[in-house]
């Protein structure tokens, strides 16, 4: 595999978010092994971990920015990509998968022009593949924010997206 996937979406953090992060970091800094909790807190505030945020963490905790990046890319709980206005998730649990969720995901990739874990350049859609979300009766399932779409096929994707 090659390089790590990175978003092209410009950073839109607010002063309020930065204040919140810096206040949190001031506390976190007092403990050992501060990078993990710092990244967790930052992801809660921003929803993802853009470079600008990782640099703030590095600066305040006085650790190399590359080390922060190393931790952020090592643990799967962290994401470098923002969520879109509409976050599209496809369940790839066993039930959904055997009923064609893979094809649904592929159709979404084509329709949205992005890969899984990416966000479209206009910031409108992001795409995720998730583990079983527990409504196997509806398999295959996809969600857009809080709306659930069950028993869908790859062909339905275009129509569903048209409403957004």
């Amino acid at each position: 595999m090659a390089k790590i996937k990175l978003t092209k979406i410009p950073f839109k953090g607010t002063d309020g978010q930065e204040r919140e992060l810096r206040a949190a970091l001031a506390e976190i800094k007092k403990k050992k092994g501060a990078v993990m909790p710092a990244l967790q807190r930052a992801q809660e505030i921003y929803g993802y971990l853009p470079m600008e945020v990782q640099q703030i963490i590095a600066e305040v905790l006085e650790v190399p920015a590359e080390e922060v990046f190393g931790v952020a890319t090592f643990y799967s709980q962290f994401t470098l990509n923002p969520r879109g206005q509409y976050n599209v998730s496809v369940c790839l649990g066993t039930a959904c998968y055997v009923k064609g969720a893979g094809e649904v995901l592929d159709a979404l990739k084509i329709q949205l022009g992005i890969e899984a874990d990416e966000c479209s350049e206009d910031g409108k859609f992001s795409l995720n593949a998730t583990r079983c979300i527990g409504c196997c009766g509806l398999a295959p399932v996809m969600t857009i924010n809080d709306s659930v779409f069950g028993k869908i096929t790859a062909d339905d994707v275009e129509k569903i997206l048209a409403d957004y």
Partner: protein, 579 residues
């Protein structure tokens, strides 16, 4: 000191408490192969090439991190051990880009020699191979991760020698690879181009940006007057590439080889080092007399200059405004010498041979163009020169010793010792003391600033002033001094800093010594001794007494730090981002 007795392959041995099995084995005259381990900076026990059998232990242990214990019985080459090492290396090879035939490190590659020693079947496991774009964005360094074995030695060098920390292991599992923050190119981060990462890399994953072809093109272009100069440390490093022992001084053969490569103006950058001392020495005197910014810090090491620009931009006024010897060399070649020859500076092509990769970056800096064209056109490292010599079929060992050409062929001992940490300071002191005291020095050796210690301090009584000096090499040590200055805890007058630990003799462009040598031989001291013993044996040991220097001031510059000297020999710096 408490000691421990143990047996290595039934050989009894006594070692200091705290020694590893690897060290104990070495003391017993037994070599254990290693891959990820590097003394002082990388003891991570990751690669498991160094495994050994310990009597009573259930599994094989990694000898590079496993402490030797009293009464231990260790076996370093049982069939089980060899089989395990072989499998480890075969697994590494499974996704390695094995094109040894066109690899810069072939015959000097730790992975290749391990595979050979262990009798590996390189094709045994054929896994998915990794694809990474080569990062050639930096003027000095090229990274090809398809050759990387993830030993993390480069990461450790960048972090622990240099505190630059711009490279690291990112992502995880099969995707793990060495790269920079947010996958930026090395040219987009605060990499200083020192090349210490190259010197510790066991494979061809890291190398310098090769400029040999550019030089060959210039040598074959009849419209170009090609000038070459060699830095102090090259002559004491180059021999290693041709089988000479570490610390052999091959100055005469080096000059002869350059001539056979087609250079018609073979000069010594030691001359430009003397010129640097004149300018820097007088700059220092003027700062002391006129209340200028102190401590003054040397600016010869481009890795160091870039480091201060990224990390301590507020301290830039402390830097001497002098160009480095390399840049002064190019500047006088394209002004004074071009005028002398009646050559248009545009038609002059200046090549330097450097122990340094950062010099490749330095030549492209702004304000390094005394004649309106870049002072320097190409920089070859010591390693590239060796490759060039081999490529052209020159039998290096059989060459006669030849002198440099004039007018830039005369360098003093002071210029030569620039190659070692402390050398610039000593050279400057020799000149500053004589100029200020107005009488010859009784003792030319400034022992306190010599040696491979990271930070050295001394004070000398010169012209009634107690001149306090400090010398640091390795950017970790430089950072320590800068923090002191920032906190107002440093009352030095003059500081010498070299980016590479030990100075240019250990530069990122010098011949690569294997981990085996780095772990068990003090190769830096061997190279250093070669420099100081050459200085000792020279008649001319002070920059200001160099007849070629006297001549160039008389004919061309007038006074040190004068108007013309300022235009040709001095430069400016820029503040850069921390990340």
């Amino acid at each position: 000191m408490s000691t421990i007795n143990l047996k290595i392959n039934n050989i009894p041995v006594t070692v200091a408490a705290g020694s590893t099995i690897l060290e104990a084995a070495r003391a017993a005259g037994v070599k254990i192969p290693t891959l990820c381990y590097l003394k002082d900076i990388n003891a991570i026990g990751a690669c498991r090439v160094c495994v050994v059998e310990v009597k009573g232990a259930r599994s094989l242990v990694a000898s590079c991190v496993y402490p030797a214990n009293e009464g231990m019985e260790v076996f370093t080459s049982t069939p089980k051990v060899i089989e395990s090492r072989r499998t480890t290396v075969e697994l590494i090879l499974s996704d390695h880009n094995k094109n040894c035939l066109s690899c810069v490190r072939s015959t000097n590659c730790e992975l290749q020699s391990l595979a050979e020693e262990l009798g590996c079947n390189a094709q045994k496991f054929s896994g998915e191979s990794k694809f990474y774009p080569v990062d050639a964005s930096h003027a000095s360094i090229v990274r090809d991760n398809s050759k990387c074995i993830l030993c993390r030695r480069c990461v450790a060098a960048c972090k622990n020698y240099q505190t630059v920390s711009v490279i690291g292991a990112n992502a995880r599992g099969f995707d793990t690879h060495i790269s920079c923050l947010f996958e930026k190119g090395l040219n987009e981060v605060a990499c200083v181009g020192c090349g210490q990462c190259i010197n510790v890399c066991p494979t061809g994953a890291l190398r310098e940006k090769d400029e040999i072809d550019n030089v060959i093109a210039a040598l074959n272009d009849p419209s170009k007057t090609v000038v070459v100069g060699t830095a102090p440390s090259v002559r004491i490093g180059l021999g290693e590439e041709f089988g000479y022992p570490i610390g052999a001084n091959v100055e005469g053969k080096m000059a002869a080889a350059l001539r056979r490569l087609g250079f018609k103006h073979v000069f010594d950058v030691d001359f430009a080092a003397d010129l640097t001392i004149m300018e820097e020495g007088y700059e220092f005197i003027s700062r002391v007399k006129n209340g200028g910014k102190l401590p003054m810090i040397t600016s010869c090491s481009p890795g160091w200059v870039k480091f201060i620009e990224h990390n301590y931009p507020e301290l830039i006024p402390h830097l001497s405004s002098c160009k480095s010897p390399q840049q002064m060399f190019g500047a006088v070649a394209k002004t004074y010498y071009a005028e002398k020859l009646g050559v248009d500076p545009k038609d002059m092509y200046v090549v330097t041979i450097m122990p340094c990769t950062a010099k490749k970056f330095e030549k492209g800096r702004p304000h390094q163009d005394a004649a309106g064209v870049p002072d320097i056109d190409a920089v070859l490292t010591t390693r590239e020169l060796a490759r060039f010599i081999k490529r052209q079929g020159i039998m290096f060992k059989e060459l006669p010793d030849e002198p440099f050409d004039s007018p830039f062929g005369i360098g003093s001992g002071a210029g030569l010792i620039f190659g070692s940490s402390g050398g610039v300071m000593e050279a400057a002191l020799r000149t500053v003391a004589e100029v200020l005291d107005g009488k010859p020095l009784k003792k030319l050796d400034f022992q306190d600033v010599r040696g491979m210690t990271g930070i050295k301090e001394a004070s000398y009584k010169i012209a009634g002033i107690n001149v306090k000096v400090a010398v640091a090499s390795g950017l970790k040590n430089a950072r320590e001094l800068m923090e002191k200055i920032k906190k107002g805890e440093a009352d030095y007058h003059f500081i010498e800093i070299m980016a590479c630990p030990g100075g240019c003799l250990n530069g990122g462009g010098q011949p690569i010594q294997s981990a085996e040598t780095r772990n068990f031989t003090d190769y830096r001291t061997l190279r250093m001794n070669a420099i100081y013993s050459a200085d000792k044996s020279m008649k001319l040991r002070k920059s200001h007494e160099n007849p070629a220097i006297k001549e160039i001031y008389k004919e061309y510059f007038g006074e040190p730090n004068g108007n013309r000297a300022h235009h040709v020999l001095h430069t400016r710096y820029v503040a850069r981002s921390k990340f």
